[in-house]
């Protein structure tokens, strides 16, 4: 693997500078950078050194891989993505078995300390046998691969926070990458799956600026996860005016009113769905008429029903309230009885 600059690589593939400019204009938009920055991003990408990327798929559903590769369309992002020499991707690469492992070890040795480790899927701890590659448990493989990595990108809520495998009761003891690796910078690109351009955007940002981007409190790039869906949602004016859809088919829903009362988790979910949107900017869940289910947040699966509004809380049932009343009554009756007994010793007298 020779040291190749991304710009030369792209030109070698017949990618004109205008194509690169088109990508950078879109990237600037995703990263909420001013559009005029496209030129600078292009210049930086061209000069960036083409890093080597090891992609380790652990306990995952391949949703993230599919999201990034967008098997059905070969787009500009995928070109850029190819620019990143993807040395090992269990699903994508032709090699298999020992050859694949051999290629991975080869890539790691050559780029030791410099390669980017991309992980998708959570790591089962209950029993390492739950998820292995070529006989090696995910845990061991992660620990080994992480040693030589310059940085780790945890792609998808599973790798970032444990995701669905870690949802109650978490039979496999699934944990996130950040639970295991403490000594390497980790970029969590959460989402189930993350928006394709966000993954590419994070990689482009890493290429462009060559450093770990500014991360929020959960280790997610602030460029893409800095604002809540609610803050950038086009239906926000309806929320402010108190116009809410009451059911999925009522007048409010058809008029595109706010979906808060139908369980939208937009206010507590941080992602770029409302701006970058999905399927090439076509739409995003709320625009399609369904509330956000908060898939970029930890434990989104256990945060109450997807159709239960944020303000609903489990105060119990009329049964539990009745039981509480019974307990209270028992205590009250006992207290009054003892007090009456004590008063009975004093002579009967009318208080005015």
């Amino acid at each position: 693997m020779r040291d190749v600059l991304v710009g030369d690589y792209l030109r070698g593939r017949g990618v004109s500078r205008r194509s690169l400019l088109k990508f950078c204009a879109a990237a600037a938009s995703w990263m909420a950078l001013p559009p005029t920055m496209a030129q600078e991003i292009a210049a930086a990408i061209e000069k960036a050194r083409r890093p080597s990327v090891i992609w380790l798929p652990f306990q995952e559903c391949t949703g993230c891989t599919e999201s990034i590769t967008r098997a059905e369309t070969a787009t500009l992002e995928s070109l850029i993505f190819d620019a990143i020499s993807l040395d090992y991707q269990h699903t994508l690469q032709a090699a298999a078995g020992d050859a694949a492992e051999e290629a991975r070890h080869q890539a790691m040795k050559e780029n030791w300390g410099k390669y980017l480790l991309a992980v998708d899927g959570s790591i089962p701890l209950a029993n390492p046998g739950y998820s292995t590659i070529a006989g090696v448990s995910n845990l061991d493989m992660l620990l080994e691969a992480a040693k030589g990595a310059a940085a780790i990108i945890a792609i998808g809520t599973c790798a970032a926070f444990g995701g669905i495998p870690a949802a109650r009761p978490n039979p496999t003891g699934a944990v996130a990458v950040s639970d295991l690796i403490k000594d390497k910078p980790i970029i969590n690109v959460s989402g189930c799956p993350p928006i394709p351009v966000v993954i590419t955007g994070v990689l482009a940002q890493y290429l462009t600026f060559g450093s770990i981007p500014d991360l929020d409190r959960l280790g997610r790039p602030r460029a893409f996860y800095g604002q809540s869906i609610h803050d950038r949602c086009y239906r926000r004016p309806f929320y402010e005016r108190g116009q809410f859809a009451e059911s999925f088919d009522d007048e409010g829903a058809r008029k595109g009113w706010c979906l808060f009362k139908l369980g939208c988790k937009g206010p507590i979910t941080y992602n770029s769905c409302a701006t970058i949107k999905w399927n090439g900017g076509t739409s995003f869940p709320i625009e399609a008429g369904h509330g956000c289910i908060g898939c970029a947040e930890p434990n989104f699966w256990d945060k109450g029903g997807f159709y239960e509004a944020l303000s609903v809380s489990r105060w119990g049932t009329f049964g539990t309230v009745a039981a509480a009343a019974a307990v209270g009554a028992a205590a009250g009756v006992a207290s009054a009885a003892l007090a009456r007994h004590r008063q009975a010793k004093a002579p009967e007298g009318e208080s005015r």
Binding site: A336, R342, Q343, G349, R352
Partner: protein, 461 residues
């Protein structure tokens, strides 16, 4: 006896009483008890008196302070400690620590009652509270504050901490049954005086439908009020009598909180009524006597009364209502205002009858802004008149009442309670306020059509 001579005699008599009151404190029996015994006795009374109704009072207070805005002692002095709910603090503490639902927690979080607190609360529940009940009218959640004050009085008295003057009055009534020396001989000489004026005044008739009570203030100072009451009873042709065994309406124990004194005084009146088979007991112009007998009497003696208790103004109202009594107008220009004695009005329920009498007399009644159930107290009720050190407080309250009277532009104040009249007299002298204070009963007597044989009539239901 012409009015002016009588008035000067009343003022002289009042001076003699005032001197007697000043000496009361020294004659009070000393109550020497160890501190923890005082606390124990006080707590026993608090516990005995706190029933479910009082508990609901103590569980609902918001500490909003509105009761203070209704209290003349706070309004007159601006002292925050005179807020009525503050007076109930000891009662609430004992309730929360001994009877309340969370008493186990309260015992950990709060300190027990101390004798220092009991002593500190003397001024709050005796000197600065006439138990007039005006605060009960304003409380936004309906706490019966004056009841709480009285329970605290009963607790302090049980602990031997009532003011000396009230202890002296209790001792006197417990031993002689009389107040301020107005014993049976005083009654006999007063009745002789009535007879000398041609007013029939039966005493100890074996059988009588009405037992009439009188009180020390009428026997010692306001003889005209006694005369007027007798003339009204005769004019109505009622079968009535006094009873030497039970003539004193005033109940010192009901004021100080000494329940034994209260029970004895009540028992004396009940026995006298039973002795002559009375169907009615008429309470004269003495404020606290009415609720003490009418509302608390049955509970003191432990059973309902076989007779009905009527205030003299209530009787007058009833007779006017039934048409058996007609009064002649006392002249068109007589502009009066009426002072509702708290114990008759707010605490007793007798509010409309006096006004019926004044209407029958066709006087020009100018009501004060606060009247009836929200009237301002004269400042001397509930025994406060007798407590020496409470003089400044009484004066502050008196001046509020005076402003109410002056605002009406009336020429005189009519009321129907001896204590109020004594307190107004002292207040007027101290603040040289010369508006005369008249007795309702005396006005009604002046308005009687003509003294003479009562028309034939059956016994009154």
């Amino acid at each position: 006896m012409s009015a002016t001579i009588a008035a000067t005699e009343e003022r002289a008599a009042l001076e003699r009483i005032a001197e007697g009151v000043a000496r009361l404190a020294s004659s009070a029996p000393e109550v020497d008890l160890p501190a923890d015994e005082r606390v124990r006795r006080a707590k026993r009374v608090f516990i005995e008196k706190t029933d479910a109704r009082v508990a609901l009072d103590l569980e609902s207070c918001l500490h909003c302070g509105m009761c203070a805005e209704a209290c003349h002692f706070y309004e007159g002095t601006g002292q925050g400690r005179y807020a009525p709910i503050h007076k109930l603090k000891l009662l609430r503490k004992v309730y929360r620590r001994e009877l309340g639902p969370f008493r186990l927690i309260q015992r950990l979080l709060t300190r027990d009652l101390t004798v220092a607190e009991l002593e500190q609360w003397q001024e709050l529940v005796f000197d600065s509270c006439t138990e007039c009940g005006r605060c009960d009218m304003i409380c936004p959640v309906g706490v019966h504050l004056s009841r709480g004050v009285h329970i605290t009085r009963q607790a302090l008295t049980a602990a031997g901490l009532a003011p000396a003057e009230l202890r002296a009055l209790d001792a006197e009534q417990k031993s002689t049954g009389a107040i301020l020396g107005a014993g049976v001989e005083k009654l006999r000489s007063a009745l002789e005086e009535l007879r000398s004026q041609g007013i029939e005044a039966p005493l100890d008739k074996p059988q009588a439908e009405y037992l009439l009570l009188t009180t020390a203030s009428d026997l010692l100072i306001y003889h005209r009020s006694l005369a007027a009451t007798a003339r009204i009873m005769n004019h109505l042709g009622l079968d009535w009598t006094f009873a030497s065994s039970g003539f004193e309406a005033a109940n010192s124990g009901a004021v100080s909180g000494d329940e034994t004194a209260q029970r004895q005084a009540t028992q004396r009146v009940v026995d006298a009524a039973l002795a002559c088979g009375a169907k009615f007991v008429v309470v004269p112009e003495c404020g606290h006597a009415y609720p003490a007998l009418r509302w608390e009497g049955p509970n003191q003696v432990g059973r309902a009364f076989p007779f009905q208790v009527l205030a003299i103004s209530e009787l007058i109202g009833r007779e006017l209502e039934s048409g058996r009594l007609r009064l002649k107008p006392l002249g068109p220009g007589k502009r009066v205002t009426f002072h509702d004695p708290c114990k008759f009005g707010r605490k007793g329920g007798v509010i409309d009858e006096p006004r019926k009498a004044l209407a029958a007399l066709e006087v020009d009644l100018r009501e004060t802004e606060s009247k009836g159930t929200t009237n301002y107290c004269c400042g001397g009720g509930g025994g406060v008149f007798f407590i020496g050190r409470a003089a400044p407080l009484r004066n502050a309250a008196f001046n509020i009442k005076r402003k109410q009277f002056d605002a009406t532009g009336a020429d005189s104040v009519v009321t129907s309670c001896g204590s109020c009249r004594m307190n107004f007299a002292v207040g007027a002298q101290r603040n040289n306020w010369n508006v005369p204070v008249e007795s309702l009963v005396e006005l009604v007597a002046d308005g009687l059509a003509a003294p003479g044989p009562a028309t034939d009539r059956g016994s009154v239901v």
